[in-house]
Amino acid sequence: MSQLLQHLINGLAAGTIYALVALGYTMVYGVLKLINFAHGDVMMVGVYFGYSTAFMLGRAARQSLWGVALVFLAAMVGCALLGFLIERFAYRPLREKPRLTALITAIGISFTLSYGFQLDLGPLPGASPRAFPQIIKPNEWFIIGDRDVVIWNWQVLSLAIAVGLMLLLQFLVFRTRFGRAMRAVSFDHRTAALMGIPTDRIIALTFMLSSALAAGAGLLYAIKDTSVSPLMGLYVGLKAFVAAVIGGIGNVPGAVVGALLLGLVEEFVVGYAASTWRDAVAFGFLILVLLVKPGGLFGRVAAEKV
């Protein structure tokens, strides 16, 4: 029983991180109908931003609240800029082209970032994983019985940050002018432009927002994993994307539910079967969901016009 509870907690903690990355996928897909394959790699770059900030700040900043906030802020701002550049120079010129071209471009950017960061040239970090500095000291917070169920402080922190960011996002999308413009662009971007909405700016802002979210999620992941490597984005990004599709891509609560489900499924596979099967089960779960509901759990399948 306590083992089950422990797995539930771990699964939820993993799920919240997936959820933050998945939200970025879902937002960009909602607005542009583009699977932003490079999202996971933007996350990876964000982790490196945080990594170098933590190093520049040195010992003084570690384990103090301001230091942690600064690391997060630097990573999120850096990633927002990166997201803006990618959107401006890679995706915007292709906006009126078939969707496949944008998908291929996204795959190209993903490869450039993840393998570019593996190069051993000057400022680039090289292929081997690095230890991520302990900006938050790991600490057991909550223990039931004799260490039967353990909650780590970073699990609570990541849950808090993730839930906070999700609520903020929900507020942003449904309660602000920017959110209304975003939903309008998502519904029909030409009409939205005719109605006086600056679509280019809205799309760019959406990209920056999703990239910043990715950076935050990436830092939480790096704190949990205590390491950072150029290829971390490929798989975390892929899993988060799977989560977004399971929930119904383009649907904000769907992404969160899908991510939590995926986190739980993976944790149970690791806990009760074998960890080597984790990836296969995640993708198998995706295929199963898509076969039953082709639009994802919360998604709708749009009727097609001839």
Binding site: T101, L119, L286
Partner: protein
């Protein structure tokens, strides 16, 4: 159909074989005692088979599949295991070398058929899924295959499969390259091909015009994965060891880069891009080695290759989204006297 050539209709089907087989035999004879040339030819050939076969699904049918390495893995492992099982056997009425080749062909076919079955399984979801969703399902399928292989005792787990007889030859690789190109060309020119093109251009409209889209899509997947499986089988028979690391998402992407660079839908483009992108790193590596920069730059070639592939995709999409050849083929501009089908194309760019 009749293009005024004087070759009797009954011989026309054999004609490509009559040209190709002696050429291949000559190649085999020329590369007989040059192991590096044999290796290069084999690796180029395998990549050409992969690219041309993926092009049948991605280019002709427009179903964006990004898990091709999974089919290759199925073919490689099944063919490898078959060969290992048949290793000690020999057909008594044939000389040993010939008997080995017979078993090699059997192993390749078994691998190809196993991959084709998987292709059928992957093709089925395409009844309900399209576009991005199908892409992610094929990707997931490729990853599932890799994990299964990694966890199966019979496939050597993460260590891989070694000791597969090195029975691959220039002739055999070349023959399958020839076969896949022939099949791709015949499909493109046939009524099947026209249905595939129609699905690519507009699936809903094709359905409305009476094309059984699901059947054609599944068939395209089956044919494509059969050849990917054969390519995997060939690969397994000239590398010393196959392991799950050779068949990752990255390998799938390499093949996607090839067909996108060549032009989605152009068999010629797939061939040219596959040859070029396979030979370029090798050429750079030996170039750097000759310049005396071995160790540093020569080793970096493999590192630099993947980011360059990524940039290549981005730049291509921005500058020339239709790829090198678009949907055109080299045989559309061949001299008149060569036997060819007229009007086999006619698909708008």
């Amino acid at each position: 159909m009749d293009d005024g050539s004087r070759i009797p209709a009954s011989l026309r089907g054999l004609f490509p074989f009559l040209i190709a087989l002696p050429v291949l035999a000559l190649l085999e004879w020329l590369s007989g005692d040059a192991p590096f040339a044999t290796y290069l030819f084999s690796i180029v050939g395998v990549n050409v088979i992969l690219a041309v076969s993926l092009n049948i699904v991605n280019g002709m049918t427009g179903q964006f599949s990004i898990g091709h390495a999974g089919f290759m893995a199925v073919g490689a492992y099944v063919a490898g295991v078959t060969s290992l099982a048949l290793k000690e056997q020999a057909l008594s009425f044939l000389p040993v070398a010939a008997s080995d080749q017979v078993f090699f062909v059997v192993a390749l076919l078994v691998g190809g058929i196993a991959a084709a079955l998987c292709g059928f399984l992957v093709g089925l979801p395409s009844l309900r899924l399209r576009g991005d969703y199908l892409a992610i399902v094929t990707l997931g399928f490729g990853e599932i295959i890799r994990v299964i292989v990694q966890n199966t005792e019979a496939f050597g787990r993460a260590l891989g499969l070694s000791g597969i007889p090195q029975s691959s030859s220039v002739f055999m690789v070349g023959f399958w390259v020839f076969l896949v190109v022939l099949v791709a060309r015949r499909i493109a020119g046939s009524s099947h091909g026209r249905s595939l093109w129609a699905i690519r251009e507009d699936e809903v409209a094709a359905e409305a015009m009476g094309v059984n889209t699901t059947a054609y899509k599944v068939r395209a997947f089956v044919i494509s994965s059969f050849f990917a499986g054969v390519a995997g089988g060939l690969f397994a028979h000239f590398v010393p060891i196959i392991n799950p690391g050779s068949f990752t998402f990255v390998k799938s992407m390499e093949i996607v880069v090839m067909i996108v660079a060549g032009g989605l839908g152009s068999t010629t483009g797939a061939i040219v891009a596959a040859v070029f992108l396979t030979l370029l790193p090798e050429a750079l590596r030996s170039g750097f080695t000759m310049m005396g920069a071995e160790g540093s730059l020569a080793q970096k070639v493999d590192q630099i290759r993947m980011p360059i592939y990524g940039l290549l995709l981005v730049v291509l999409m921005l500058v020339r989204p239709q790829g090198l050849f678009g949907t055109r083929e080299i045989w559309d501009v061949l001299p008149r006297w060569l036997p060819r089908r007229r009007g086999a194309k006619g698909v708008p760019q």
